[in-house]
Amino acid sequence: MSKKVLMKGNEVIAEAAIRAGCRYYFGYPITPQTEIAHYMAKRMPESGGVFLQAESEIAAINMVYGAASTGARVMTSSSSPGISLKQEGFSYLAGAELPCVVVNIVRCGPGLGGILPAQSDYFQTVKGGGHGDYKMVAFAPESVQELYELTVEAFNVADRYRITVMVQGDGILGQMMEAVEFQDQEKIELPEKPWATTGTEMKRPHNVITSIYIDPEVLEQHNLKLQAKYRLIEDCEVKVEEFNCEGAELILVAYGSVARIAKSVIKLAEKEGIKVGLIRPITLWPYPSKVFDKYVDQVHSFLTVELSAGQMVEDVRLAVNGRKPVHFYGRMGGMVPTNQEIIAKIKEILGGVAK
């Protein structure tokens, strides 16, 4: 029997990681995700694991790199300014093909910005904030239940592809309490890791974890191998929710907590006789570009709503590819759009007249 409990988003992420077999957590305090560290500091020792508060975000991600080299399940978490500092590590982790999970509870920027929710880290997550041609898988949960399920899944995907998986929430998701239902037994995939630096025990040639290949031909081959892996992930790991899209004249595109707002907007619009749908990317990378093809003929236009100046909207435009208008509505600085604001925008787009 699984049981439902009321828990805070950040704590659920930490519990999910432990249930997924993560026994190593390295982090540095930053609002609004610090409850993850608080929870880990208590639960990791109880679970026979290690919680370590690093001296910096840079040190934390490099500790993750070290622990991941051994094949262990490992995680760090932070919020936007801290994630900026970890970009160096993300690039090295990608180059060395090390599996790990990183949580980003996004806050508003730029600079120190503020501590309130935002989605303005989309570019640095999916376009690669670090150097080189690399990708991270990025999950965007919309509820506390999904924070749990997708955090567990993040460890499986990380191991399956030897890749960093980011669970990207925002200050709303991290801080809010909701009912969550834990499984009695998590579905854990623990593949063999013959590449890991576990010590040779004098039984095999030495293993090396590295991201440097000085010979250009070798480095190009390494890059081609990475790109092939990314194409495979694009084929196999896209997650998307299509909500109320059949027959919709306008389709909203939103992820995370904004998708929750979009769902309320859809109900309100329906009362006013406007049929609105929602495409909710659950993976920000790989992006669910193909799903737009299903609806592009039927809709008047798309409206992307984000807590940013317009970041994901670029991927919507790439997916729609000029076939229909793609509009944008965003709030910044920790401000969150109301239902009424979005309804007004929808009416403006549709000419103020419901069909």
Binding site: L52, S56, Y65, G66, G199, E201, T210
Partner: protein, 248 residues
């Protein structure tokens, strides 16, 4: 015929890429001899730095992890926390350890992380072609201090052993040099003790090895050794800074 001299098992039998007269090869060999003597090759994981020795993972027979610039102590921490019973060492130069990686080395020592750092100090950035390092001496000409290092513009060199010895978690701190046979023997003893300190679980251990960089110093091998003796040794006093009497 009886073999009287050979490469240590912990050292891969391939040519190394270091410049003529460079002392990295000596330091590599000493580490490998110590790993052999302690019988820990199969349970040792080394961490390679950024710099001339970025690829020394090719030279050591134990498992190796290559780290970002300055981050080797953090990477080693991650490895050691997973494998508290295995031996973990970092190999770092002066730019890596004393400039970009200052925070990481200070905190690995402060935590008393049970790892060993072999710190090779040749007072210059080698790989990037001879820039001023935190350990570059006053008056020393480098590509980024073409008129010589001076206090007003660059500040004084960092003395790493003296700095780290102030931290409680650093239990074994020793500065050695590889300029002559006697000092090479002392270096090996220090490296061995540093590994033994780790095996005994006593805390963080570091051996700073004064080394040469003939290419970027613009000197030949013999003149480099002389320069090390006459310029580096007076500034960087050899000796034990902590943990001399530790029982291991």
């Amino acid at each position: 015929m009886k073999k009287v001299f050979q490469k240590p098992h912990a050292l891969v039998d391939i040519p190394q890429h270091y410049c003529p007269g460079c002392t990295h090869g000596i330091v590599h060999r000493l580490i490998a001899e110590v790993i052999d003597e302690l019988g820990i090759e199969g349970s040792t994981i080394g961490v390679s730095p950024v710099g001339c020795t970025y690829n020394n993972y090719e030279y050591f027979n134990c498992d190796m992890v290559q780290a970002a610039h300055g981050r080797a102590p953090a990477v080693a921490t991650g490895v050691k926390r997973v494998f508290p019973d295995k031996t973990v060492f970092t190999y770092q130069g002066d730019g890596d350890l004393a400039a970009i990686g200052t925070a990481e080395i200070v905190h690995v020592a402060a935590r008393g992380e049970k790892i060993t750092t072999i710190f090779v100090n040749n007072a210059i950035y080698g790989m990037t072609s001879g820039q001023m390092a935190p350990t570059t001496l006053l008056g020393q000409v480098t590509t980024t201090s073409p008129f010589g290092r001076n206090v007003a513009q660059h500040g004084n060199p960092i003395k790493v052993c003296e700095l780290l010895a102030t931290l409680d978690g650093a239990v074994y701190v020793e500065r050695v040099a590889v300029n002559n046979i006697k000092n090479i023997i002392s270096t090996k003893k220090a490296i061995k003790k540093a590994f033994q300190v780790q095996l005994a679980g006593l805390g963080f251990s570091i051996v700073e090895v004064l080394s040469t960089c003939p290419t970027n110093w613009g000197l030949d091998a013999i003149a480099s050794l002389k320069w090390l003796e006459e310029n580096m040794m007076p500034k960087y006093q050899l000796g034990n800074y902590k943990g001399k009497d530790l029982e291991v």
